[in-house]
Amino acid sequence: MESDEAAEHRVRTMVLEAFADTIIPGEKRGPDDAAIAGVDVGGGAVAGGAIELLEDPAGGLAPALDTICVELDEYAREHAAATGLDLDPDLPPFVGLPFEARTALVEKLTSPDHPDKQMWVGLALFCNMAFDSAPHMHTVDALASGHPGLLAMGYESPEPDGLWRFPTFSYGRQLADPHPSTTATGSPA
């Protein structure tokens, strides 16, 4: 039997995953995957490690995650009621929303006039970061283990010592005329 605490954590994770998947969508992990909407191919923010990052005490959002999920579900219920959507009673309300409705809700929560905008933008920022920079991992390890975000972006790998160097970096020729009144020091006049 799953303990209450474990069940709550599982629900919270689903809600956070659904939010992360709205920011950078990815493909479902299996046929029963309700959190990930599955509107895109390849890994998205969830596969990128959004939950690990959000739960990392260094980030600062971890203590707020319980409240965030309660509120997200509350907003989802309201949104469903206002737009006439039926929610699956077996799923947390935000997870029950289809992708388009999740998207519309996130747009509303992060809009300039929303009172808690800063929190929702923070949440979105961390989800985005999980995908595009994996700050919960050493970057070298993230690349070596095929991190979906860095890979999708074509982020180049380092040299064997773990440092980046690009010995070939320039077209090597003049490609524009300098401003005619540039001074002797190379500055604008």
């Binding site: 980030g59 800063q118 970057t139 980046w164 320039s170 003049q174 490609l175």
Partner: protein
């Protein structure tokens, strides 16, 4: 009961304003201590790693305000450790700006001509060098070629990078691992140490109190090395002269917090903040068009796909830096690299809804290597105002490192918006020609505007109503307190500011040395360049009095 130490000079902050003051005062014979809230790292500590807790988050500071987020350095060396080292001098017209105050913003004593010898000193000290086309990274080359195609000019911008040592890794925001970037860790600060100055990292100054003898008692807290949210012991130190150089996002906050102890602050403390009119646009290039229209290709056959390669901004277009144009309509455009995370969330997908997240944003990220970011530096309207200071520091620290919420409020005026929209249109015109790319500005809806160039929150000027400092950088009504950082700059510069911040700090030094002598400190002015060069010193010798 703790005892209070004392020193001749206390310097708060170790960026451009702090390092230059520490060097000249120590070299002249004064006892100097530098308190810096961030850690003290050097080349070997600068990691190529996005992981939270790596050098990138330790040395970087990102304060989210109401309508304006400020990015800066948080370490010994300040912004010079994280900066891109592009070092142009400000154009002549900048010094003649009126802004919205109906008179010249800059002190009568300062113009481009009078500042030139001080710029020369900075160029000699770092050093700053001109860049050549054959070493311009692909992204700069692409911007130059697009400018040329659109009938515009473009320049390789002067820089404080030793290009021979540079690996074009584009990790410079995490600190330069290869010491190719000429940060203050390589010139003014070691020279100050050699003359006996003492630098104390992880010392965050909170407020100042005036002593009966006219000296100042500086109150500080010690910041935890790993979790900056935790402050350890507190202490005090007495100083005959205080040089405040905590950066334009922090200096006014320290003064505001000190007001109950020091007495009334000049009106301009914490007002007139400028974000240097910054704005970013991100273009996604069509690789085929780059090849066909601009005739560009790399040795491996790719046309571009090189966003990751390089050293921040290298090429700028100065066509709109024309003094004949109306104020608020002049700006420079500079090619830029911003690493993922900070540099991707605000980038928008042209014509998509939603524009900054979702399916289409992911598609845009898949083309990340074909991105080009263009940085606008325009004339904003000094519209930033600091609200009541947070309990400590200049922000409520939210993450272990890097992220916090601060009291700055910024509502861009019509003037500022006009400059931005002209620049946006210009960028679009240049970069979208003949289907080269699609481009959109970064959104201001999420964290407001943003700046890596905070300025003017405690500015110099001739008019006491609109400036906090006189033209010698002394805080009006509070003798012995000097401000030498970016907050002293009167307004937006239309180009990267560090050169000008540093030149102003150099210019202020003879006066600060004199003030120190008047307060009984045995100190003289006249140090050579940090590495011993003397051309710059000779050139300003007659300007000392």
């Amino acid at each position: 009961m703790t005892t209070t130490e004392s020193t001749d000079v206390l310097v708060i902050g170790s960026g451009f304003g702090g390092a230059i003051a520490a060097y000249h005062l120590a070299a002249g014979g004064a006892q100097v201590k530098v308190f810096e809230r961030g850690p003290w790292l050097k080349a070997d500590d600068f990691e190529h790693d996005f992981k939270l807790g790596a050098s990138y988050t330790r040395v970087f500071d990102f304060v989210i305000g109401d309508g304006m987020s400020v990015l800066g350095g948080n370490c010994v060396g300040g912004g010079s450790v994280v900066y891109f080292a592009t070092m142009p001098r400000a154009p002549r017209f900048v010094f003649e700006r009126h802004g919205s105050i109906g008179r010249r913003m800059w002190p009568a004593a300062i113009s481009r001509d009078t500042l030139e010898p001080w710029y020369d000193r900075v160029a000699e000290a770092l050093p700053v060098t001109q860049q050549t086309w054959d070493r311009v990274p692909y992204a700069g080359g692409l911007f130059a070629a697009a400018c040329h195609h659109a009938g515009r000019t473009a320049n390789p911008a002067p820089s404080a990078i030793d290009v021979d040592m540079c690996t074009n890794c584009n990790w410079m925001m995490a600190g330069c691992r290869f010491d190719a970037k000429r940060s203050l860790l390589l010139n003014y600060l070691p020279a100050a140490l050699a003359h006996g100055a003492e630098i104390r990292p992880l010392h965050e100054v909170q407020h100042l109190v005036r002593n009966a003898d006219g000296s100042y008692r500086v109150h500080y807290r010690v910041v935890d090395e790993e979790d900056y949210r935790i402050l350890h012991g507190e202490g005090t130190i007495d100083a005959k002269i205080v040089v405040l150089a905590a950066g334009a996002g922090a200096t006014p906050v320290i003064l505001q917090r000190s007001e109950p102890h020091l007495g009334r602050m000049p009106h301009a403390v914490g007002r007139y903040f400028s974000g240097n009119g910054e704005r970013l646009n991100t273009a996604v290039f069509d690789e085929d068009r780059v090849r066909e229209v601009l005739k560009l290709s790399r040795p491996d056959g790719r046309a571009y796909e090189a966003y990751q390669i390089g050293r921040g901004p290298t090429v700028a277009s100065w066509d709109r830096l024309d003094g004949a144009l109306p104020e608020f309509e002049r700006y420079s455009l500079e090619q830029l690299y911003f690493p993922p995370a900070l540099g991707t969330i605000l980038a928008q997908v042209p014509d998509a809804s939603p524009s900054w997240f979702g399916r289409e944003k992911k598609e845009m990220l898949r083309r990340w290597q074909s991105w080009l970011t263009i940085f606008t530096m325009s004339e904003d309207d000094n519209e930033g105002v600091f609200g009541p200071p947070p309990e400590t520091g200049n922000a409520h620290r939210f993450s272990q490192q890097m992220l916090g919420h601060g009291p700055l409020r910024y509502r861009p005026t019509e003037n500022t918006r006009r400059g931005w929209s002209l620049a946006d249109a210009d960028v679009k015109d240049i970069l979208e020609r003949d289907g080269l790319s699609r481009v959109m500005p970064w959104t201001n809806d999420l964290v407001g505007a943003y700046t890596v160039h905070p300025l003017a929150s405690c500015r110099i000027g001739d008019d006491p109503a609109t400036s906090a400092l006189d033209d010698r950088h002394e805080l009006r009504g509070h003798p012995g307190i000097f401000v030498t950082d970016g907050s002293a700059v009167p307004g937006a510069l239309t180009v990267n500011p560090a050169s000008t911040i540093a030149a102003l700090a150099e210019r202020a030094m003879p006066g600060i040395v004199r003030a120190a002598r008047d307060r009984g400190v045995a100190v003289t002015y006249g140090a050579p360049s940090p590495d011993g060069e003397t051309a710059g010193r000779r050139a300003v010798a007659h300007l000392r009095s």
